[in-house]
Amino acid sequence: MAKKRVVQTTINGDAVEFLCEPRQTLLEVLRDVLNLTGTKEGCANGNCGSCTVLMNGRPVTSCLVLGVEAEGAEIRTIEGVACGGHLDCVQQAFLEGAALQCGICTPGFIMQTEALLAENPQPTEEQVRFHLAGNLCRCTGYDKIVRAVLAAAEKKRANV
């Protein structure tokens, strides 16, 4: 078996060092090695977006990233969104807008939304839908998710 590697990375602002086999995906490392199970597996081939995390500020499907590729990277997961026990306004908007039913896709949608609002604070409904197309939700029909994202954008703008 290939030798395990020591990987030094930053996860949700903390310096983290972990051991993994080259064949372990970042998703597997987060869930099974680091016990960060908020990131979900839906398809393992990049088509559902449930495992979306931010890597150096950009959303990626962690099922298609090797754990060893996290060396020197900045990773942000759903566990790192709420700070100091306070929900982020995207999380708040999802809650208040009833933008989740079963909730399995929610962490991925929230990470993807964080990335969208960081680069486009005032997205149109069209832009929201295009940006979130890589995240599947089977419960909501997307209506309340899109509204929550638009509401969060508005709130973020009001706060700054």
């Binding site: 086999e21 064949r23 372990q24 597997e28 869930r31 099974d32 016990n35 960060l36 199970t37 908020g38 990131t39 979900k40 597996e41 839906g42 398809c43 393992a44 081939n45 088509n47 559902c48 449930s50 997961t77 759903i78 566990e79 969104v81 709420a82 929900l87 999380q91 999802f94 809650l95 208040e96 009833a98 989740l100 039913q101 079963c102 909730g103 399995i104 896709c105 929610t106 962490p107 929230i110 409904e125 929201v128 839908r129 295009f130 979130l132 197309a133 890589g134 995240n135 599947l136 939700c137 089977r138 419960c139 909501t140 029909g141 997307y142 209506d143 309340k144 998710i145 899109v146 509204r147």
Partner: protein, 755 residues
């Protein structure tokens, strides 16, 4: 928006933040795949590469010898089931078939059929070991088409299957066959009905197999302890049916099995049958360690779900003044590998939206080499609605009659006898059509070329079944509610709100918990649109039980006669203007006898049915056949909306699933019965870039069977979309689609036939 009969409530109809919400937006909610008991092993399964084959030999020795492998199991490790048929809460199941579906015995009946499983120190070792298992197959011809499977000379999948429901004395009843069941309903004089018709239409319809498409794959982690107790942590729509199925499959007492329902990532009917728990349990017994099994997406598509592909032939008779006077329907539904398609409800729903005097419907449940079908949102009804709702639209366009007016004139209402016999009670079918007819959407002009608007109605029965709730009053005036209904879409909150309403306290003051099978009272599955209805009734009963105890406690506290104490608006009143709020009274309970625990159960067999009418605008690209959904409005008879946001959410989610079914979702099989699109890339569920906002109109026609008038809302919204979209396509480009999905090549083919 919301219209209809209104009653004054304090909690019902408000939109509190769901109790489990924070956990779900922070990633803290624990789903089945998140559990990791100490010493846990990872499991992987070997699945059949063939759609139909006899298993001649299985050799697991090389897998067992791989370092890191702790256990290997095959069907030889599962106890024999004989030919038992067991009631499993939501229907009866032939245990031999269920067992053979969990691990194939002498035959594999579909690509992906589970054959063996391995538990190892890592998922990668387990997968490597699976690749070392050798199976000798004798391939058999796959039977993939429902009509071909019905032919007398078709290869038979299960030699123990005989056709039920034939006329007495029919010799076919003794022959091995793929046709497991025949259903027949009849009402009035069908021949005379067609005689009296001015217009008779007859068409054939074909529906492809589709999947529930929940994002969370099936999973189960099991520990078979040295004391014989089995604990299963899993994703399931029904912990109690999962417990019973697991116990029956392993032939252990039901009390030896504890199912801990983790948060569930969607189900839609597909997470009622068990696949993994007995296998994980066997691996645990052999290894002495907890074992986790999680399906990959391909296994979810190839071995779980789906809803049946179907063939329907429908003949309708109309008078020229727009009355539906006769109907004759033939339905053949694919059961998949083992009997059990929703052919019964399909036959019962087909004519249910209409007051039709003469009708006949005959249906068949047919085995084919595809995964064993399971319930999917209003099982069997969407196929039927696609057929009848598009033909009614065809008549309306021919007769230049408004399709909403036609439905209002012919719609089912209280007193109408259904084709299957019973007479409707108070139902809201006509109200939903009126809501659409009066909507701004329906009234607005439809501009642009290649655009069309269509409407369609759907019906579903909604189950009642059994539920239990216990509720303990805390000293601080809150109430801890324990229910056994797994929460897929916010039902902790909709159930807690009904308890709060009855007690006159705030929704936030109820702390709902979904218990495991050792801590919660029996609840049937979270399915059949039943939880807010049935578990809600149980919560109301529990609240009443608390009230009756609180009256006695208040009397004891005040040292007065209980007859002088009353419970009103969230508190007790006594003689001489005595009053204590629920919160004040709660603080005194420990001085007057200790804990107050309310209990409630419900056991309605069903609710009054639910109806939905949808309106959709589409634009069709005449050069490619691609359909874009421009605007969508869904009106539904919801009884009473407890938490309107989650009622809207059910309707919006159901409508978009229906849009996927209508436009692109289908199992794509090659001639050898291999599903070629078992990924979310090629099994095309709608993304948010494919759909518009889904406007909802909540029509509130209270159900007399529920104290607050609740009707189930989860299932019926999937019924109208395919027909509504087909009708819109007809309006846009003048072609009639009679096959789902109405994918671009199929629509284009019809367009090209025109010119």
């Amino acid at each position: 928006m919301s219209i209809g009969e209104k009653r004054e409530y304090k909690v019902i109809g408000t939109r509190p933040v769901r109790h489990d919400g924070v956990d779900k937006v922070t990633g803290r909610a624990q789903y089945g795949a998140d559990v990791h008991p100490t010493g846990m092993l990872f499991g992987a399964m070997l699945r059949s590469p063939h759609a139909h084959a006899r298993i001649k030999r299985i050799d697991t020795s090389r897998a067992a010898a791989l370092p890191g492998v702790r256990a290997v199991v095959t069907s030889a490790d599962l106890p024999d089931q004989g030919s038992r048929v067991v009631e499993l809460g939501e229907g009866a199941v032939n245990m031999r078939h269920l067992s053979a579906n969990v691990l194939a015995r002498d035959k594999v009946l579909y690509k992906g059929h589970a054959i063996a499983a391995v538990a190892a120190d890592s998922i990668h070792i387990a997968q490597e070991a699976v690749n070392l298992i050798t199976v000798e197959y004798q391939p058999l011809p796959p039977v993939l088409d429902v009509r071909a499977a019905m032919k007398p000379d078709a290869a038979v999948l299960n030699d123990d299957v005989r056709t039920e429901g034939l006329e007495p004395g029919d010799p076919a009843a003794n022959r091995p066959t793929n046709v497991a069941r025949r259903i027949l309903f009849q009402k009035g004089d069908v021949a005379a009905g067609f005689q009296s018709a001015d217009v008779v239409l007859e068409h054939e319809f074909v529906a492809s197999t589709v999947h529930q498409g929940y994002i969370e794959p099936h999973n189960a982690t099991a520990l078979w302890n040295a004391d014989g107790n089995i604990t299963v942590w899993m994703s399931t729509q029904g912990s109690f049916t999962a417990r019973q199925q697991t116990a029956e499959l392993l032939r252990v007492p039901v009390s030896d099995v504890k199912v801990v329902p983790m948060e569930i990532g969607g189900g839609f009917g597909g997470k009622i049958s068990v696949y993994l728990p007995p296998v994980a349990a066997l691996l645990s017994r052999k290894s002495g360690r907890p074992v986790k099994l999680v399906m990959d997406r391909a296994a979810v598509f190839e071995a779980t779900g789906p809803t049946p592909g179907a063939y329907i032939r429908l003949k309708l008779g109309f008078t020229k003044d727009g009355r539906l006077v006769a109907g004759d329907a033939h339905l053949a539904y694919e059961a998949g590998a083992f009997p059990g398609s929703p052919i019964g409800p399909g036959c019962m729903c087909l004519f249910a939206c209409y007051d039709i005097p003469n009708a006949r419907v005959e249906g068949f449940d047919v085995c084919v080499n595809k995964p064993r079908t399971n319930a999917y949102r209003a099982p069997g009804s969407t196929h039927a609605a696609f057929a009848i709702e598009t033909m009614i639209d065809e008549f309306c366009r021919q007769a230049k009659m408004d399709p909403a007016e036609f439905r209002i004139r012919n719609g089912a209402k209280a007193g109408v006898r259904r084709v299957d016999g019973p007479v409707f009670d108070r139902v809201g079918m006509i109200e939903t059509v009126e809501a659409i007819r009066n909507s701004e959407h329906y009234q607005s002009p439809l501009g642009g070329s290649n655009r069309g608007r269509g409407i369609a109605t759907g019906f579903w029965f909604n189950c009642g079944l059994k539920s239990s709730v216990t509720a303990t009053v805390n000293a601080d005036g809150t109430v801890a509610l324990v229910e056994g209904s797994t929460d897929i879409g916010g039902t902790r909150t909709s159930v807690a709100m009904q308890l709060a309403e009855t007690l006159g306290i705030a929704a936030e003051d109820v702390k709902p918990t979904v218990g495991d099978t050792d801590t919660a009272g029996y609840c049937d599955v979270t399915g059949g649109s039943r939880v807010t209805f049935a578990t809600g009734i149980a919560a109301v009963e529990a609240a009443k039980d608390i009230i009756s105890q609180l009256v006695v406690r208040a009397a004891r506290h005040w040292e007065v006669d209980p007859k002088t104490v009353e419970y009103v608006d969230g508190g007790v009143t006594g003689p001489a203007g005595k009053r204590l709020s629920f919160r004040e009274l709660a603080a005194t309970l420990h001085e007057t006898g200790g804990a107050v625990i309310g209990r409630g159960t419900s056991s309605e067999a069903n609710q009054g049915g639910a109806f939905g009418t949808h309106c959709v605008d589409v634009e069709v690209d005449p050069d490619t056949g691609k359909v874009q959904i421009l605007r969508y409005t869904a009106a539904q008879d919801v009884g009473t909306a407890i938490h309107p946001s989650y009622v809207e959410g059910q309707i919006q989610g159901g409508a978009v699933q229906g849009i996927g079914w209508a436009l692109n979702e289908e199992y794509w099989y090659d001639d050898m019965g291999q599903m070629r699109n078992a990924t979310f890339l090629d099994y095309r569920m709608p993304t948010c870039y494919d759909v518009p906002m889904i406007d909802t109109i909540l029509v509130e026609v209270p159900d007399p069977q529920h104290p607050y008038g609740v009707r189930g809302v989860g299932e019926v919204p999937i019924c109208p979309p395919p027909a509504a979209i087909a009708n819109a396509i007809a309006g846009a480009v003048g072609v009639r689609m009679r096959q789902t999905p109405m994918s671009p090549p199929r629509v284009l083919a019809e367009i090209l036939k025109q010119d």
